[in-house]
Point group: C2
Chain length 404, copies 2
């Protein structure tokens, strides 16, 4: 029989367009579970837990929860705080004091690690708390998952942005550099390839954190594309590294978060460096760089249908698993084999997704190192959803004799 | 009776999400006009005209033209070229040699100026060419117009982006600076205000090129907002100027286009400068800056319905006016008085919109200088179209006695 007790849910890490689907899914499912008494939310992740600032999620109407589900970013507020061992003890004390038997942590690998620390503490203290992690990250870098909630919508934004940007750069030719999020994994940058509908469409070059980046090679690559197409659109991950594995963007920042990660987004420094180097190393005069920044993770009205649906389901599944199994764990998304797209949701231990992240598999990266493979495109397509069809003029040239 | 002859159409200046609506509208209307024989398009504005690289627009199917109409950027290709006096003579020779009696120039004020130079040349040479300008500019800075095609869709992108960005910054509090296009006019930056649905929503500060910008004042403004709301989202025009009227962004660039305008977009330099200064002048630690760049003018799937409709109509009207009146001119959009939104299209001389641009009227700017007025919001709303409704948790705090 399921433990009876209160529930606490938090959101952590970078917001996504669908993280509130998971929140709404978990709350609405919890309301159906007789074992779950009060349903609390803490503001700004562990910070709100440590300050015991809870809100009563039973007081929210279904209409509000559905509206919140369709709203980007983290409705409870988020944080990038990694708990210290002392804080883990305090969190556990707080859970116990408030009769919380169900604790849900919506977040990425850092959040899974925090959940793991708290679960271990509860286990040692003999006060069982079902401690479940609900996956989210636009970086798509959680191990064990085919893909993660939040990624599909961010990937959709990137694909749409590159569609528009290629058209823009074709109209006013030059070189366009687009810097895309993804600290260690190139999935989001790879999604730029979905923008192509014709052979000469951009992005013409795709630079991933999984392959070493060289400025000299970059300049040569761009020159070759410009010679061929008259313009060049390059998709560059914010996480690109040099031959020594050192982050190129991190050379420009000294700021790190609670998990020791350097600030990569919210600055145009990497794009500007690449544009400057390209102008210095080549004869190309029109070079522009845009850094997509926070738009790609929180833009309303650009949501992948599959992503929204799956984000809802992982929230629901986590509550069901917690009630049914207790203990701790995470819900992973696995893709069903076969041609039609489908997924299953499975429980896995927290340690399986905590700490280390995963990167793009080699099978997704072309030998050139600046292109993705057909397997990668096939993997990405259902996650992003249908993209708009773009028109192009047939453009029949008028013969000079006709003109004369 | 209308002159009989061929037609040539070009696109110029920065692309927009709806400039191809104007192109499709003009072509489809021209096909209905018996006076118009061949319908040519030149690639990349005046460049294609001077190189006599024409395509046959009668060979495009209606389905292709409709698909192109719904596709961002300039389907013919664009340019930022201002013709020299010698080139104006050459363009005129080319028009004459190819029996072109109808010349259409889709673009902003620089394009209207170019069209004006060409029309004057044709007039002097006694070879009448109907020379009509079709307005477009996301900057919304064409004189005589209530607003310009392209603006509404870019403004819609900005409003949506700020909705998402405010949610993101509320979730992970700090300061967020968003740099928005608009060289001399603050309209697009002002549209960020449409993102607000609740009193504490961002943007909390709006800096326009129409009011002098001071770093010290900016830092004080941001500190006050953070003290009040715990976070701050600032919308900053790329065109902000100091007390002496000098562009702040232009301090970081040496690149100018054919019309002598400095490069402001396609670099994160201004945002990064503002973030750096804010960190140096205040105790605020989390400061992020995004520069929306080219996304705001060419993003597919973010189009204002009114903007698409009106962009189509100015293309149609220009062809009708050219056939009916000959001569030269531009089509301006005027708003009908009254509560319900509606516009009329009127002919005006090219000189009325060429060269000088217009700026935000004083009535749209609040006394603080970093806020827009209700009149401005009322002006903007119908241009952008309905925005998504965002959900927010009621957030009833759990009382400590209940918790204990």
């Amino acid at each position: 029989m399921a433990m009876s007790g209160n529930m606490l849910i938090v959101q952590s890490g970078g917001p996504t367009a669908v993280i509130n689907q998971s929140l709404a899914g978990a709350i609405l499912e919890a309301r159906k579970q007789p074992a779950i008494q009060a349903i609390y939310g803490a503001a700004h992740g562990l910070k709100g837990v440590l300050e015991e600032r809870f809100i009563d999620l039973r007081r929210e109407t279904k209409a509000t929860l559905e509206a919140v589900a369709a709203t980007p970013a983290a409705a409870l507020g988020s944080a990038r705080k990694k708990p210290t061992p002392e804080e883990c003890v305090r969190v556990f004390d707080i859970l116990k004091r408030h009769a919380i038997r169900y604790f849900f942590y919506i977040g990425g690998n850092d959040s899974a690690e925090s959940a793991h620390l708290i679960a271990e503490n509860a286990g040692r203290a003999g006060y069982p708390v079902a401690c479940w992690h609900i996956p989210k990250t636009i970086d798509n870098d959680l191990r064990e998952n085919d893909h993660t909630p939040g990624f599909g919508s961010a990937a959709r934004f990137v694909a749409l942005a590159l569609m528009g940007d290629t058209l823009d750069c074709r109209a006013l030719p030059g070189v366009k550099i687009d810097v895309i999020m993804g600290r260690h994994a190139g999935f989001l940058t790879a999604a730029s390839a979905l923008a192509r509908t014709r052979p000469d469409d951009g992005p013409h070059l795709i630079y991933l954190p999984e392959r070493p980046f060289s400025l000299a090679r970059f300049a040569a690559d761009v020159e070759a594309v410009v010679a061929r197409h008259g313009f060049c659109v390059a998709a560059v991950s914010e996480g690109i590294v040099d031959e020594a594995g050192e982050s190129i963007a991190a050379r420009f920042t000294t700021e790190v978060d609670g998990h020791g990660n350097a600030q990569l987004s919210g600055t145009g420094a990497l794009g500007d460096l690449l544009a400057r180097e390209l102008k210095a190393r080549t004869a190309i005069t029109r070079v522009r760089a845009d850094t997509f920044g926070y738009l790609q993770r929180s833009f309303p009205a650009v949501v992948s249908p599959a992503d929204a649906r799956e984000a809802r389901r992982v929230g629901i599944e986590a509550v069901r698993l917690a009630v049914k199994k207790g203990g701790s764990g995470t819900v992973v998304i696995r893709r069903k084999p076969g041609r039609a797209y489908g997924v299953v949701y499975q429980p896995r231990p927290l340690a399986a997704v905590a700490k280390e992240t995963r990167r793009m598999p080699d099978a997704f990266i072309a030998e050139s190192g600046c292109e993705v493979t057909p397997a990668c495109l096939a993997y990405l397509r259902p996650l992003v959803g249908p993209l708009p069809r773009l028109g192009r003029l047939k453009g029949v040239p008028v013969k000079q004799e006709t003109l004369a």
